[in-house]
Amino acid sequence: MRIFTTSDLFSLFAALQWTIVLVTLAIALGAPLALALALMRISKIAPLRWIAAAYLQLVQGIPLLGLLMFFYFGVPVFLGIQVPAIVAVGIAFAAYSSAFLGEIWRGGIQAVKQAQWEAASSLGITRWQQFRYVIAPQALRIALPATIGFLVQLIKGTSLASVVGFVELARAGQLASAATFQPLLVYSVVAAIYFAMCFPLTIWSRSLEARLNGAR
């Protein structure tokens, strides 16, 4: 047994990097997929809507933990290949993010008045241009508070990666706690770090929401 030292604190911050990597991966991979899903959900082509709806039902119906288990333990067994933990965990978080962001953004897109599509299409621009220049900027503004809210969920959700042995912030906390026998202190520090990341986002999201409501 030893006491909690600054080196333990350093190891927590080192692990924090991995938390950030996970969040970045989840967004970098998940956001494009989310956009595709949102567009598929509002598509005029029925099979695209069905595929997107099925994917969303599936992913949203599985707990995040289940997704992690599936990609970390299940996929290597099915495919017979060993994937690095970061890849498996990254994909699981990307799948999770794509489903939730996809639905948030679809909601934002559908909250923009139909008349805006009509006005834009009446000017003879393509459907993609209508979306890109007229609908998307308005939808993003509407969906931004919920998007940031999801980001907070995601940051906290990365702690689940510890279950498959991935050393991110929560797992590093476990290790430090086991080594120092000071769980109260260690976990307080871990909690404080999560809070320091999430709290400003929550405030930002709230103020955006207030501004949005004030604008209508």
Partner: protein
């Protein structure tokens, strides 16, 4: 050949047949005003002309080309046929300049360097050049509608459709929008408009079309129609709006 030929057009929403065989010609340079009671199908007819609605039967030809919502060059059609809506439908996140230049730049009608000058030119035609950098929410309803008209003009359309463009305005703002439309009429723009402004219809229209229950009930010059209505439906409509 008429600029727009409408032949026996039918359109239903579910079981509700809204256009029951409408035929109408619109010639180059004409100002056609469509009047009629609420629900008689005026807006629907207008929206069929630029394919915002798909006709169920009959045919509409614009500049000789058949109009369909699934047509290959739908965008070409929309670039030639402008529409102004009752609710303005400006893009709230864009400045007046960007509202106007978005489509001309995206469709290659104007390049980025010329775009601002184009915006200034069309804004001068509606008397709003000083509002070029404003956002729609900073403008009055009348000003917003004039920007919406300028946005259409920037595409240099051959035909413009107006669906009750003054109906959402406070009475004191109606005049400024009608004046802009009068100027356009004088400059030779072909216009089809649905309006409740009978004074405007009488003074500016070259042809008035009275729609009733999904049909063209009567049409003629303003003096013919107002002075000498042939049907009891038009007679009662005229007396109801006086």
């Amino acid at each position: 050949m008429a600029l727009v030929e409408i032949r026996d057009v039918r359109k239903s929403f579910g079981a509700n047949e809204v256009l029951k065989g409408v035929s109408l010609d619109i010639n180059e340079g004409e100002i056609v005003t469509i009047i009629g009671r609420s629900g008689s199908g005026k807006s629907t007819l207008l929206r069929c002309i630029n394919a915002l609605e798909q006709v169920d039967g009959g045919e509409i030809r614009v500049e000789g080309k058949a109009v369909r919502t699934d047509m290959q060059d739908l965008r070409q059609l929309r670039q030639r046929v402008g529409i102004v809506f009752q609710a303005f439908n400006l893009f709230p996140h864009l400045t007046v300049e960007k509202n106007i230049t978005l489509a001309p730049v995206l469709t290659g009608k104007s390049n980025k360097q010329e775009a601002r000058q184009l915006a200034i030119d069309v804004l001068e035609r509606v008397g709003l050049a000083e509002k070029i950098d404003a956002y729609p929410e900073q403008l009055s309803g009348g000003q917003q509608q004039r920007v919406a008209i300028a946005r259409c003009l920037a595409m240099a359309p051959h035909l413009m459709l107006f669906d009750e463009v003054t109906s959402a305005l406070d009475p004191e703002l109606v005049g400024e929008v009608l004046k802009v439309m009068e100027d356009m009429a004088r400059q030779g723009m072909t216009m089809v408009l649905v309006t409740h402004e009978m004074g405007f219809a009488r003074d500016v229209a070259s042809k008035i079309v009275f729609m009733h229950e999904g049909r063209v009930w009567e049409q003629g010059t303003p003096s013919e129609l107002f002075a000498n209505p042939q049907t009891p439906e038009l007679k009662s409509f005229i007396s109801s709006i006086k």
